[in-house]
Symmetry: C2
Subunit: 237 residues, 2 copies
DNA sequence: GAGTGGTCTAGACCACGGT
DNA sequence: CCGTGGTCTAGACCACTCC
């Protein structure tokens, strides 16, 4: 009999409501016995469930199952881990298209350096891409890629997935992405490129991406039209 | 000689640039020796640094220090852990005021239940509060508190901090808050209560709060005017 | 006081990166 | 191959909750 994964099994039970009545998980000791494993493994699984926002550990009390796990899970279809466009609601997108609005190789000056955190003098690809879904221009991505770390970019690559290129062709590992979201008045190019309709604001998601050498290889601003994306967060106290 | 905290010490060194040149932390074994502690404690400290977005662990390679830690830390003055208003940029707020726009005790109907996830029939306090900072109405909070879990609310309490009341008077522990942020067209009450100026959009931060029994005691929508708050996130791959 | 999760130690083996 | 971080086990003690 092969060992089953503690996390998968507990998640399944929680989501199917097996623990809803008493609002508690079995104690660590009971889980150790049931799954015939060590305390380390049980605690690792519980830690994952806590990160998912399904349960909460209380010292001296037990592991509490949060209410409305099923419904509030919908809140938590986390904006994926890959491409920036995935910040959009990815449900049944029928027809998506990427258009290159501009593609340049430039050198970082003081102004750009201040914004992107790239050192002055760094060569970078500056790419503006329009994300069209079902005939609406939902997002304008303004990418700054360090050309020393991400060399030989072309319009053709940019029309597809640059992240795919980074992983498959350059075999570079993406380690961490830091993001900040703000709401801003739409600027000239937002009006030009986005299907803003009556809105005069955009969401601006700023991303800094780092590879596994700790080097920042990307600064990106994604300008989104309202009503088309969500941003989730779980805070533990 | 009392033991120093591994996390605090490593964080201090990273932020002061001690490891920037080689972009690596010492190996776990070296840290175990230096701090005269167990591998568990060293790994716990590193885990915290990873969560802070300061470093990244790579198997077979080491713990890599991310570039621009100081600058991108600014990105990461995480929207605090307490009251919803802290989603605002909290720098040097001179003069803040809360005004109660409405205060009602109502019973959850089907429509409200669908939105708030409270069961139909639950008594709730429905409170609308205007957050005024330096003579601008920056946010409109629409709170739904389960009146069985948060009893005896008054306008006076609501004019101050309800979270303070929950913790100090009710001695209830807040366990988890799940949040979702969207951008929406401003509605009638947004125009009425907020200093929107020319903008016709608001940020809408939806919060579900749970106590340490796993019960959801709050559903809140915070409507913010643009340009006045940020939302941060760190994603590990 | 009994039972719970949180911290910590000591040790083993595995999987991956770079030489 | 060696050195790295990742996983896992077994066991001890601490801090908190609740009766």
């Amino acid at each position: 009999m092969s060992k089953i994964n503690v996390y998968d099994e507990l998640q399944k039970r929680i989501l199917s409501g097996d623990y809803n009545i008493k609002m508690r998980l079995p104690t660590e000791e009971m889980l150790i016995k049931e799954f015939d494993t060590s305390r380390y493994s049980v605690r690792k699984a519980i830690k994952q469930l806590v990160d998912d926002g399904l349960v909460y550990s209380v010292k001296g009390k037990g592991v509490v199952v949060l209410e409305n796990t099923l419904q509030s899970q919908k809140l938590n279809l986390n904006l994926g881990k890959i491409d920036n466009l995935q910040a959009l609601n990815a449900n049944q997108i029928l027809n998506r298209k990427t258009t290159i609005a501009s593609f340049k190789l430039i050198i970082v000056n003081e102004k750009i350096s201040k914004k992107t955190l790239f050192p002055i003098g760094t060569p970078i690809y500056l790419i503006r891409r329009i994300r069209n879904v079902n005939n609406e221009n939902l997002a304008l991505d303004i990418n700054y890629f360090n050309a020393q770390l991400i060399p030989d970019l072309t319009k053709e690559i940019a029309a597809g997935s640059i992240y795919q290129y980074i992983k498959d062709n350059l075999q570079m590992k993406i380690a961490v992405v830091k993001r900040q979201l703000r709401i801003e008045p739409a600027n000239e190019s937002d009006y030009k490129y986005l299907s803003l309709k009556d809105s005069n604001c955009v969401g601006n998601m700023i991303s800094l991406a780092f590879n596994d050498d700790g080097k920042q290889f990307e600064y990106t601003e994604s300008h989104f039209i309202p009503d088309n994306f969500v941003f989730n967060q779980i805070i533990q106290f």
